[in-house]
């Protein structure tokens, strides 16, 4: 009875909606249009920093200060970009960043796959305790360990090397492990049990059965880890002292300190640092969004 009533009232609601008066409909369209205008205005505002960056990177030093603002410099100074490389060893910074980022990202992916497998697909006493610990460390502010970890790396002579920037990633980080573990839990256990019956050990099961199915999780971890290493500022700031070892963010700051009056060159250097990230974002946006959403929904 009640379901029939509910169905009937749904039907009448739908009918009512279709019979909406013309005035209501035009009000609706007007509201929609206003919202669209608002969204476009917001989009323009959110684009200002990047457009300013791109525009200033193509100006002469004189054009930078001209009022009103010239958004499209005429003619564009493409030579600003090679000039950045001529003034400073920016190519060196790119190589350094690439090294740290690749080593760190590979470490994050491998360690999170291994540990997540140990937490999702092997039953052993203490596993749940370790997982609880992992979830706990996700909430801990990392700042309390900054000083003692620095002292530790100083004692073993790693300050002034790249090691402190990527070696810790090989020990796994809580969020990446969590992300991969949750993904592995969605894979049916029959897969690894069948492989076990065929005589495969856990390493073979992880490598041949589980890893090939973890594509989206691996992509999310790789992207997050890439961005974290690429954008890392505090790490290079406290661990690197030799100018030739600087990474892009640190090199950019150094560049700004030395050539602060040459805003067009500083902006060209910034543009060089921003471009790969934006390219990655356009290329892999869906994995990116998935990862962020996952982080939020997992937080429930």
């Amino acid at each position: 009875m009640t379901t029939v009533n509910a169905r009937m009232s749904t039907a009448s609601a739908v009918k009512e909606r279709t019979r909406m008066s013309r005035a209501a409909r035009s009000r609706r369209i007007a509201g929609r249009g206003a919202l669209l205008v608002l969204m476009i205005a917001l989009a323009v505002a959110f684009l200002v920093p990047l457009v300013w960056l791109a525009s200033t990177s193509l100006k002469t030093s004189g054009q930078v200060f001209i009022q009103p603002i010239e958004w499209i410099p005429n003619p564009p100074q493409w030579d600003n970009y090679p000039e950045v490389f001529r003034r400073l060893q920016f190519g060196r910074f790119i190589v350094n960043t690439l090294y740290v980022t690749v080593m760190g990202t590979v470490g994050s992916v491998l360690s999170s796959l291994m540990v997540a497998f140990g937490l999702a697909k092997i039953r052993w006493p203490g596993r749940d305790l370790l997982f609880a610990l992992l979830v706990g460390t996700m909430m801990l502010p990392g700042i309390v360990t900054m000083i003692p970890v620095f002292i530790m790396f100083k004692q073993i002579g790693w300050v002034g090397t790249f090691y402190p920037l990527w070696v810790p990633s090989w020990f796994g980080s809580a969020f990446y492990i969590f992300l991969v573990r949750q993904y592995m839990l969605t894979l049916p256990n029959e897969l690894n049990e069948a492989a076990r019956i065929d005589g495969a050990n856990n390493f073979a099961i992880l490598w041949r059965v589980i890893v090939p199915l973890c594509g989206p999780a691996i992509a999310s971890v790789a992207i997050f880890s890439f961005l974290a290493h690429y954008n890392n500022f505090m790490g290079p700031l406290i661990y690197l002292s030799d100018n030739n070892m600087y990474t892009i963010p640190l090199g950019l700051l150094w560049f700004q300190g030395r050539f602060g009056n040459f805003w067009h060159l500083v902006m060209a250097a910034s543009m060089i640092s921003v471009a790969p990230v934006i390219a990655l974002f356009f290329f892999a946006q869906s994995y990116f969004v998935q990862g962020v959403q996952f982080a939020g929904l997992a937080g429930r």
Partner: protein, 333 residues
């Protein structure tokens, strides 16, 4: 052992009149599990070995990068150490300094201002954008990309750009204010306007929170909305009475993460102001950095880190306690 835990639970001696009986049941259960344990020994032992082996990177990581450093950090509280000569025991010297240090108070106030004014505004903007992105309009993926872009821009580059945009003479912000007849503001050079400028900048990088809100709005079950419509709820009612309560856990998550992150802000102020003008943007982490790596006061910096750690933990705990009142978790009644 997961398998044996029910047996153990029933085997606990209970102070009820049937104590003897439950003891007996417990003994039987124990005998059964020990038999099973013997039967499973080989595979159980292999699972234990492999479990520890696969998790060993993280177990080592916790020891090397969390537990060890935290213990060492406790030791540092009583030390005076510039890392050039051996550490010196000074008892409560660092704590005394902390209590009498006016810049500690200043930097805590600066950080609190940024957090308690900034985070609610960030959440409001992120939520507003998510609501707009959830409308049935064509081209939403383009809008989503554009709103997200500043959030992925490397912080140093973004800081350098903002220095320009906020420039009092030729920056775009003052140019726009000029259209409305507002006199130029000195922004990062003015102790009063500097923090509002930082908060304004933070509103441009709310992308992650926005995406999480959007996912939440999209996860509201359509049948729940339909039921509300049948009960006579309009657009407004459906939004505030159905959607908002359903996504309240996500609001809570964003609030907790926003506050934890906000207390640890560093890069923007380091790149743009180094704490100035007149310490108006001396964020607490910047102060810790200055003490540790400019003045080489490792012991004092460790004490400051503990202060921040405790503050963050206290606020997180308070939020979880208060969250119970207003956060709605599905399935709980």
């Amino acid at each position: 052992m997961l398998v044996s835990s029910p047996g153990w639970a029933s085997g606990q001696p209970t102070p009820n009149p049937n104590g003897a009986v439950s003891q007996e049941v417990g003994a039987v259960a124990y005998a059964q599990t020990s038999q099973r344990a013997q039967y499973m020994t080989r595979s159980a032992r292999r699972d234990l070995r492999d479990g520890l082996l696969f998790c060993s990177p993280y177990i080592l990581g916790i020891i090397l990068f969390w537990a060890g450093p935290m213990l060492y950090s406790i030791f540092l509280i009583t030390q005076k150490w510039n890392m050039l000569v051996p550490p010196e025991y000074i008892g409560l010297g660092n704590i005394t300094r902390l209590v009498g240090d006016p810049l500690v108070k200043k930097s805590l106030l600066v950080t609190a201002y940024y957090t308690f004014v900034g985070v609610p505004l960030q959440l409001a903007v992120a939520f507003g954008l998510a609501v707009l992105l959830n409308l049935d309009i064509k081209g939403q993926s383009v809008f989503r990309t554009v709103y997200y872009l500043p959030s992925i821009t490397p912080a140093v580059a973004l800081g350098v750009v903002w220095l320009q945009i906020l420039n009092p003479q030729y920056g775009v912000v003052n140019a726009i204010l000029g259209w409305f007849g507002i006199a130029p503001i000195k922004w990062l050079f003015d102790p009063v306007a500097a923090m509002p400028a930082f908060i304004m900048m933070s509103l441009f990088t709310v992308g992650p929170a926005m995406i999480i809100f959007l996912a939440g709005l999209q996860s509201v079950p359509p049948e729940v909305l339909e039921a509300a419509t049948i009960d006579g709820a309009g657009n407004w009612g459906r939004f505030w009475k159905v959607k908002v309560p359903v996504i309240s856990p996500i609001v809570f998550f964003n609030l907790v993460m926003g506050i934890i992150g906000s207390f640890q802000v560093f890069t923007a102020s380091f790149v743009m102001t180094r704490g100035g003008p007149q310490n108006a943007t001396l964020f607490f982490v910047l102060y810790i950095y200055n003490q540790a790596f400019e003045l080489l006061r490792m012991g004092y910096a460790a004490v400051l880190s503990w202060v921040l750690f405790i503050i963050i933990m206290v606020f997180t705990t308070i939020q979880f306690a208060l969250g119970r009142r207003w956060v709605y978790y599905g399935g709980e009644l």
